[in-house]
């Protein structure tokens, strides 16, 4: 032990400086989009994916027990909320069916491409973000299934995010709450197009470039704009306005929105094989 301790007195500063320099070099190369880093990430993801999937299956009972202990209160309130929602939905089911038929007719008239004609790949969410500072999920479909980086991802409620990394049989979805997520959007009551941006976990989306005098109300649905060359098809629901304000002297409204998709409980999603018009 005494010998081991004396070894620790060896000057470590040059080694640590070298490691810091190596880290900064990697960070710089990654920021410049150096290809080998992306390739290494893809290979590592592909190698780990089957093992991780098997291990997730094995550890499922542990996860269930953990959620039972630490999420009991949350599960109970969610259960109550869902029961209430089912009751409400029963009452409005007939109305919804009629509205759906109406909407189908309107979509046909407007010739909106994403609703029916954009080819899509159904996928299952297989992993949550591996660290605390990422707004991503992993899905079980990859390049072998026709998924490419940049494709929009939706669920039944609306936009979920975009594909940010692809392996052969898995892909990473950057959620729309990620600070690096941007999308062009429309608000039905506003003539201008805005830009929606994520701000991290638990924080609302913001919609920028909305004129200060634009008519706005809480609950207004924000949809993708789908302008030519847009990365997203038009009219995908993104969120609903929860707050808006205008500071004196501001030229634009500060608009906050809640995602329409329940990003905390994603299970199945659709990857739209959308290629922007060129």
């Amino acid at each position: 032990m005494a010998f081991a301790r004396s070894r620790r007195r060896v000057r470590s500063r040059p080694v640590i400086l070298l490691l810091i320099l190596a880290s900064i070099t990697f960070l710089t190369l990654d920021a410049r989009g150096w290809g080998p880093i992306a390739s290494s990430r893809r290979i590592a993801g592909d190698l780990l994916a089957p093992v991780t999937r098997a291990a997730t299956h094995v550890f499922q009972p542990v996860e269930n027990a953990w959620n039972g202990v630490f999420g009991y209160g949350k599960l109970k309130s969610e259960n109550d909320r869902l029961r209430q929602q089912v009751n409400d939905m029963k009452g409005t089911q007939a109305q919804a069916t009629a509205a759906q038929a109406e909407m189908a007719k309107l979509l046909a008239l407007l010739d909106i491409p994403w609703a029916n004609t954009v080819p899509a790949v159904a996928a299952q969410v297989v992993a949550l973000p591996p660290s605390n500072f990422e707004q991503t999920v992993q899905i079980d479909k990859g390049s072998a299934d026709g998924v490419l980086v940049g494709y929009p991802v939706v669920d039944g409620a609306g936009l979920v995010g975009r594909i940010s990394g692809v392996g052969r049989h898995r892909a990473v979805v950057r959620l729309l709450t990620d600070p690096d997520f941007f999308a062009g959007v429309d608000l039905p009551t506003v003539p201008e197009k805005g830009i929606v941006n994520g701000h991290g976990r638990g924080k609302p989306l913001t919609v920028d470039l909305i004129a200060a005098d634009a008519p706005m109300s809480k609950g207004t649905v924000v949809v993708t704009s789908g302008v030519p060359q847009s990365l997203f098809p038009p009219l995908i629901p993104v969120g609903s306005v929860t707050a808006y304000r205008k500071a004196p002297g501001d030229l634009q409204l500060t608009v906050e929105a809640e995602p329409t998709a329940d990003l905390a409980h994603l299970s199945f999603v659709k990857v739209l094989q959308w290629k922007p018009e060129t």
Binding site: M1, F3, A4, R5, R7, R8, R9, V10, S12, V15, I16, L19, I20, A22, S23, I24, T25, F26, L27, L29, D30, A31, I37, S40, R41, A44, G45, L48, V51, T52, R53, A55, T56, V58, F59, V62, E63, W66, F70, A127, L128, P129, P130, S131, N132, F133, E134, T136, S164, G165, V172, R174, P179, D180, H199, G200, R201, G202, K203
Partner: protein
């Protein structure tokens, strides 16, 4: 010498993917107040406690780099944060005159908190936005708390991984 280095290297090559798989398949799914643990960081810090600041920083760098491969955050950020924290933890633990049972969990708790904050500061410098939120407090507490609880088990595992290295250190010159 070669045999010793090889056996440590082989054990490390086995442990790194196992720890990564556990992090991705189990730890990341177990959330407290929306935050998850970080056992990759735990093993990096424990390695530094066993081997000292120099080798500890090197092993922590390797753990961090392996973790960076499966993250979408800037590549090298975890490696930077882990190796800096490991060098401090290795230095602090190396200066210990007598081992006390509670020292390892406390060192890991503080080291983990330091590593998370280093990650956030370095992340901000390298363009990761919206990191300074209330959620950060929960992340620091959950990562540090879980790592402190798991520290004794991780110490046992890493002592096995680095056994050849430690035996070699005890040999007379």
């Amino acid at each position: 010498m070669r045999v010793i280095l090889d056996s440590t290297a082989i054990r490390l090559l086995l442990v790194v993917p196992v720890v990564l798989t556990l992090q991705l398949s189990l730890v990341s799914e177990l959330r407290i107040f929306g935050a998850t643990g970080d056992i990759v960081l735990l093993f990096a810090l424990v390695a530094a406690m066993i081997t000292g600041p120099q080798r500890g920083a090197f092993i922590a760098f390797a753990f961090g780099l392996a973790f960076d491969l499966v993250l979408q955050s800037p590549f090298g950020l975890s490696a930077l944060a882990y190796c800096l924290s490991a060098s401090v933890v290795g230095r602090v633990h190396g200066g210990l005159y007598r081992e006390v049972w509670w020292f390892a969990p406390v060192t890991v708790f503080l080291g983990s908190a330091g590593a998370v904050m280093t990650w956030v500061v370095a992340g901000t410098v390298f363009g990761v936005s919206d990191l300074w939120t209330v959620h950060l407090v929960g992340v620091v507490l959950v990562v540090s708390g879980l790592n402190a609880v798991l520290a004794p088990a991780a110490l046992r595992i890493m002592r096995w991984v680095l056994a050849a290295d430690l035996d070699h250190a005890k040999l007379p010159a």
